[in-house]
Symmetry: none
Subunit: 260 residues, 2 copies
Amino acid sequence: MSSIVVKDNMLTTHRKQQILALLKSQGQVVAKDVSRQMGVSEDTIRRDLRELAQEGLLQRVHGGALPSSPAIADFAGRERLTPDGKSAIGRAAALMVQPGQVVILDGGTTARQLARHLPADLRATIVTHSPTIAIELIHHPEIEVILIGGRLFKHSVVAMGAAALESIANIRADTFFMGVTGVHPRAGLTTGDFEEAAIKRALSHAAAETFVLASSEKLNAASPYSVVPLAEISGIITESSTDPALTEPFEKLRIPVIRA
Amino acid sequence: MSSIVVKDNMLTTHRKQQILALLKSQGQVVAKDVSRQMGVSEDTIRRDLRELAQEGLLQRVHGGALPSSPAIADFAGRERLTPDGKSAIGRAAALMVQPGQVVILDGGTTARQLARHLPADLRATIVTHSPTIAIELIHHPEIEVILIGGRLFKHSVVAMGAAALESIANIRADTFFMGVTGVHPRAGLTTGDFEEAAIKRALSHAAAETFVLASSEKLNAASPYSVVPLAEISGIITESSTDPALTEPFEKLRIPVIRA
DNA sequence: ATTTATCGTGCAATTTCGTGCAATGTCAAG
DNA sequence: CTTGACATTGCACGAAATTGCACGATAAAT
């Protein structure tokens, strides 16, 4: 008897990843089979399939699911899902990077999503003050990584301080993808640490264009420290499911809003 | 009974490192399980997971956490125990660091061992051009980490280039712990990459004392590019099992050899 | 056309989350 | 030694997420 159900803890995100892995190796998945194999009800698997289809990672069919496209199948195998599907922002932003460009990446989870979704054949230069993002990009075959040094801020694991500001002053980049804790029509871009705000401001000024990566809960929120006013940014990238009422104040100010 | 809870002083930093180690070895961590295993409440584990996620070292999901990316998991987790004597070398070198000192750490596996063995209550400043070592030290409660930036050399994952050299020029440290590929009585300290040699040379000149971390197979070996002559270093640290015949040429040159 | 399998939704039970709060421990200044 | 500021931890409680089941709708199959 080979199919003894191993009934141990399985995190829900991990289950979805395994479904994607199954899909990649077998070319299709059947809801009933998967449910038995993973020891959960069919309803749960169906919900997973629905959500994965919503993210475009597979294609629903009666009885189970198929890869959404052959190209995605490879990609989806190594995809690391975010609990809420916010990788769409990173994916969309990654597609904005043109070959040969010099791009500054902020620290934070959203920028990490961006790094993860850079096409494998994209030749570009990524500048970052986040050692974790730098390491993330180490295995990319074509990307050149410039690490900004400085005193390491333990809370968010990014380089800060005078040394970092000095290094940034020597950089002229095409685009800066910034993460913030608040994007507010009047307060502009804000964050929760004073020195961090200064770094983000310097990075923004070092790039010709600045785009803000902001999931919906960041919109119309404000934190204590101001980074730059809204007028200085080229656009806001948010997820497609964001309520239009949340983006409307920014569109009224003629700030382009890109929905991923 | 295997699950005897080891109820000794568990510094919060060590707990986080253990969580990362678990995550690396198991591919996932479940909050409830970890809390039982470590003898603290689930709330505490959840707090740890939140903070680690904030630092980008793992990815929070309902019920526990997953690696933030395969690359980070490789570096952030404690790896298999000491394949060789490098751990002992690192431990011995770590004990040489005095409170309040400013110490430069080279890249490479031996230096990483050193970073791991720094006493939990040691207050000091560590300067490094290796993002992996920087991340390793992030959870140390007392260590201040200065990261040297620059173009990231993909092979050994350290910052190099003009920017790195410039940053180093501004540093005056007490000790530099250097890793090399060869320590030879006549050729001196050598390594396999030209630019890397320049960086090591600069780091060495930025410190009052330089110690070489060299496992036995590095002794009496030489690589193409010279870093500094033997006369400029304060000592060689090697494992205790090293054949005395290998160290004898250096002792004859009055270079102190420390056996770990 | 009828039968069977699959699907989607509402709903309730359970688990997990996040925050406020109090108790304890640490450390440094007085 | 004492005191007070601060960090860490555990507990309580309301909020949110996950899951399985019931039931009507839909799609496939004979």
